[in-house]
C-alpha cells in the first residue's frame, strides 16, 4: 500500500493522499507560443536560452494547473521533449545518450513520420539529461514531482541497432545508462520515478524476460518509488510476466479498453505488493468524459482493489491534446475522485 510520504520542503514536502492518489502520465498539450518557439529554434531563429525560458514558463504553467486542479503527485509536463525516445537520442534541445543519434524519417502509420534513432556505438550515459528540468519543476511546488524516463526495452525497440550483435545486448547496456540517470534524479531529490515501457509487449514470447531483467538493472537497490507506464498493445499476453516487473506501480490504459483489464485481474490476479495505476480518461480523443463516467469506472476498479492501492490517472500522456483538453481531462478525473471519496467515505 501507499505509505505516507513526508518529504523535505522543495522536494515535495506535502503528504500525498494515501487513497486514490491522483497523478498524470507525463506529457501535456503544448501552448501555441511554445510550439512556435520550437519551430523557430529548429530554424535557428531563436537560441537555446530563449527556448528554455519559454519551456520553463510552460512548465510552471502546468505545475500551477495541476496544483489548482488538485493532483497529488505531479509531472513536469515534458514541455522540452518532442518524442519520448528521440529526446534522449539527438532531438534538438536534448542531451543525447552517447552512441545514439537521430536517423532519417520513417513512417509509423497513415501520414505520420518520425526520426527513428540509431544506436551506432556503445551506449554510455552522457551526464544528467533530465535532472535540471526536474529540479526546476520541483522547486516550484511542495507536492512531489515525478522523474520521467523511458525504459531500456522501449529505447532500443524504437531505435535501429547498428552496433550490438543482439537486441538483448543493446537493452542491457541501455538499462545501465538509464540507471545512471535514475541515480542522478534520486541524488537531486526525486522520490518517485516513472520509467515508461510502451513497447514492452512487442514480442512477448521471444524476449519479455529481457525487458523485466532490464528494469531490474535500471532500478534495483535504488531508494525511490518506481512506476512504469505500459499502454495499448496486447497487454493480455503479458499479464502474468508483467507482474514480475520490479516496480511499485504499473499503470495501464484502462479507459481505452473500457476497463476490460479488470477481467484479467479477476482471472489472472495482480501482484499483491504493487499499486495499480488506473487510466480513467482516454488520452486520444478530444471528447471529455463526464465526472459520472469516470466515477463509474472507479467504482468498478474499487470492487477489486482497496483504495490505498489505486492511483488515478489519464490513460496516457496528453501531448496530443490541446492545453484546454488536457486540463479538462485532469479536472474530471480529480472531481470524480473527490466525489467517490466522499460517497465511499474514503479518507
Amino acid at each position: 500500500m501507499v505509505v505516507e510520504k513526508t518529504q523535505e520542503k522543495g522536494t515535495g514536502s506535502v503528504r500525498a493522499s494515501t487513497a486514490l492518489t491522483t497523478t498524470a502520465v507525463g506529457s501535456f498539450g503544448r501552448p501555441d507560443y511554445l510550439t512556435k518557439a520550437r519551430s523557430a529554434f529548429a530554424k535557428g531563429d531563436i537560441d537555446r536560452a530563449e527556448l528554455e525560458k519559454l519551456e520553463k514558463q510552460a512548465t510552471e504553467y502546468w505545475i500551477r494547473v495541476q496544483e489548482k486542479i488538485g493532483l497529488d503527485v505531479l509531472v513536469h509536463g515534458e514541455m522540452e521533449r518532442g518524442d519520448m525516445v528521440a529526446y534522449f537520442s539527438g532531438e534538438k534541445g536534448g542531451l543525447p545518450i552517447k552512441g545514439m543519434k537521430l536517423g532519417g524519417l520513417v513512417r509509423s502509420y497513415g501520414n505520420r513520420y518520425y526520426h527513428k534513432p540509431i544506436i551506432y556505438d556503445r551506449l554510455e550515459w552522457p551526464g544528467p539529461m533530465t535532472v535540471d528540468m526536474w529540479k526546476y519543476a520541483q522547486s516550484l511546488t511542495d507536492r512531489p514531482v515525478k522523474g520521467m524516463l523511458t525504459g531500456a526495452y522501449t529505447m532500443v525497440e524504437w531505435s535501429f541497432n547498428e552496433h550490438y550483435p543482439t537486441r538483448r545486448d543493446a537493452v542491457m547496456d541501455m538499462a545501465k545508462v538509464i540507471r545512471r540517470e535514475v541515480e542522478a534524479l534520486v541524488a537531486a531529490g526525486a522520490k518517485y520515478i516513472q520509467i515508461d515501457e510502451p513497447a514492452i509487449h512487442t514480442r512477448p514470447e521471444a524476449d519479455f524476460g529481457d525487458a523485466v531483467e532490464a528494469m531490474g538493472v535500471t532500478v534495483e537497490g535504488i531508494d525511490a518509488e518506481f512506476h512504469t507506464h505500459i499502454c495499448y498493445g496486447e497487454v493480455e499476453e503479458i499479464w502474468r510476466p508483467m507482474q514480475k516487473l520490479p516496480v511499485k506501480q504499473i499503470h495501464l490504459a484502462f479507459k481505452n479498453t473500457d476497463f476490460a483489464y479488470l477481467d484479467l485481474v479477476r482471472e489472472q490476479g495482480y501482484d499483491e505488493s504493487k499499486d495499480v495505476g488506473v487510466g480513467v480518461t482516454d488520452s486520444h480523443t478530444r471528447f471529455i468524459e463526464t465526472v459520472d463516467e469516470v466515477k463509474d469506472g472507479l467504482r468498478r476498479v474499487l470492487e477489486l482493489f482497496p483504495p490505498e492501492r489505486v492511483w488515478v490517472l489519464p490513460d496516457c500522456g496528453l501531448k496530443t491534446r490541446t492545453v484546454e483538453e488536457s486540463e479538462a481531462k485532469l479536472k474530471v478525473m480529480v472531481d470524480a475522485v473527490r466525489d467517490i471519496k466522499r460517497e465511499m467515505e474514503i479518507e
Binding site: 513512417r107 502509420y109 497513415g110 540509431i118 541497432n161 512487442t202
Partner: protein, 325 residues
C-alpha cells in the same frame, strides 16, 4: 539471377529534398488540396520511386505501394463486406495499420490494382511487378464479425482478390506477387493458408506468380509450399535465419525470392556480404531460379538508406555472378 524488391518503398525523402507526398496529404486533410490533385502527386512520387529503384540497378521493380497506407487496407477497403477500423500494431514493428473489420459477405467490386500497375509500367523501363495482400494475412489481421472461422474468412478474401489477379493478367501484368507473411507465425494453420493461396492463384496463366513471407522462417512448411500453385516463394533470411536450414532440407523446385539484405536495420551490408549470401544460396538454387531482394518492404528504413541498401544488394548480386554491376 535477378534483383527485385518485396513491395513498398519509403514515400518521402529527407531534407533537403522535400516531403511532397506528406505535405500534399496534409493539405488534402486540411481541405487545401483536392483528391484529384493528390492523385497527381501520388503519380509523380510513384514515377520518382520507380526511377530510384532503377537507378539502384534493380531488375524487377514495384510502384513502391506509394498509394497504400499499409499492406492491408488499400485493397481491403475496396471490397464489399469490409469496413476499416482502429489502429493496430503491425506484427512486431513500431508501425500501425487500420484494422479491416469484416461485417458481411466479402465481395470483389472493381479492380483497384490493374490501373495502378498499368500507370507504373508506363513510367518504367523495367518490368513492374504487381503486389497483392495475401488472403491468409488479411484474414489473420482483420476483425471477423461475420464468418466465424479463419478458414472461411481467408477463402472469402482469396475469392475476392482473384478478381484483382484476373484484372492484372488481363491488363498485361507479367509478374504478380502475393505478400502473405503471417503464415510464418501460424504454421499450425498451414492448411488454411494453402487452400487460400490455391483459390487465389490456381489456373492463373500468362503471368509469373509469387508468394512472399517475412519476419520469420518457413521451416516445417517449406515442403508443402512446393505444392502451391505459384512460381516463386519469397523467404526472409534476415529475421528468419532458420530458412537456411529449411532450404537445405527440401528439394526446392520453384524460384526463390531470397531476402538477404536487412530491410529493418539501417546497418548497411557490404556488397561482399551480399555476394557471400548469394553464393551460399547457389548450392540449392541455380541462378536462373533466383531473385535477390531485401528481407521485406523497404518502408521501415529512411528513403536514403533504402536506396543505399538496394545499390549494395545489386552490387553484391553482380559480384556473385562475376559480372560488373
Amino acid at each position: 539471377m535477378q534483383t527485385t524488391v518485396v513491395g513498398n518503398y519509403p514515400k518521402i525523402p529527407n531534407r533537403p529534398r522535400p516531403g511532397r507526398l506528406r505535405n500534399a496529404i496534409n493539405k488534402r486533410d486540411r481541405g487545401d488540396l483536392s483528391s484529384e490533385e493528390l492523385v497527381t502527386i501520388e503519380d509523380e512520387v510513384t514515377a520518382e520511386v520507380i526511377d530510384e529503384q532503377i537507378a539502384a540497378g534493380v531488375d524487377v521493380v514495384t510502384d513502391g505501394q506509394v498509394r497504400w497506407d499499409d499492406d492491408q487496407t488499400y485493397v481491403a477497403r475496396r471490397l464489399a463486406g469490409v469496413e476499416i477500423g482502429g489502429l493496430q500494431r503491425y506484427l512486431d514493428t513500431n508501425t500501425y495499420y487500420r484494422q479491416p473489420e469484416v461485417t458481411g459477405a466479402i465481395k470483389f467490386k472493381e479492380p483497384a490494382l490493374a490501373a495502378a500497375w498499368q500507370f507504373a509500367q508506363e513510367k518504367s523501363s523495367r518490368p513492374v511487378k504487381a503486389i497483392l495482400p495475401g488472403p491468409y494475412t488479411l484474414a489473420a489481421l482483420s476483425a471477423d464479425k461475420h464468418y466465424g472461422s479463419r478458414e472461411k474468412l481467408a477463402l472469402a478474401f482469396a475469392e475476392a482478390l482473384r478478381g484483382e489477379v484476373d484484372a492484372l493478367v488481363e491488363a498485361g501484368c507479367k509478374q504478380i506477387q502475393v505478400n502473405d507473411p503471417v503464415i510464418v507465425f501460424n504454421k499450425d494453420d498451414y492448411g488454411t493458408f494453402h487452400k487460400a493461396i490455391t483459390k487465389l492463384l490456381e489456373g492463373v496463366s500468362g503471368a509469373e506468380t509469387g508468394v512472399y513471407t517475412w519476419f520469420g522462417d518457413c521451416a516445417g512448411i517449406l515442403p508443402q509450399m512446393q505444392e502451391l500453385p505459384c512460381d516463386v516463394i519469397g523467404l526472409d533470411f534476415e529475421a528468419g535465419p532458420g530458412n537456411w536450414e529449411a532450404l537445405e532440407s527440401v528439394t526446392f523446385e520453384k524460384k526463390l525470392g531470397a531476402g538477404i539484405v536487412d530491410a529493418r536495420n539501417t546497418r548497411l551490408e557490404t556488397a561482399g556480404e551480399v555476394a557471400e549470401a548469394v553464393k551460399r544460396l547457389s548450392a540449392a538454387i541455380p541462378p536462373e531460379r533466383l531473385y535477390v531482394n531485401p528481407s521485406c518492404g523497404l518502408e521501415y528504413l529512411p528513403r536514403e538508406v533504402a536506396f543505399e541498401k538496394l545499390k549494395v544488394m545489386v552490387e553484391g548480386a553482380r559480384q556473385a555472378e562475376g559480372v560488373a554491376a
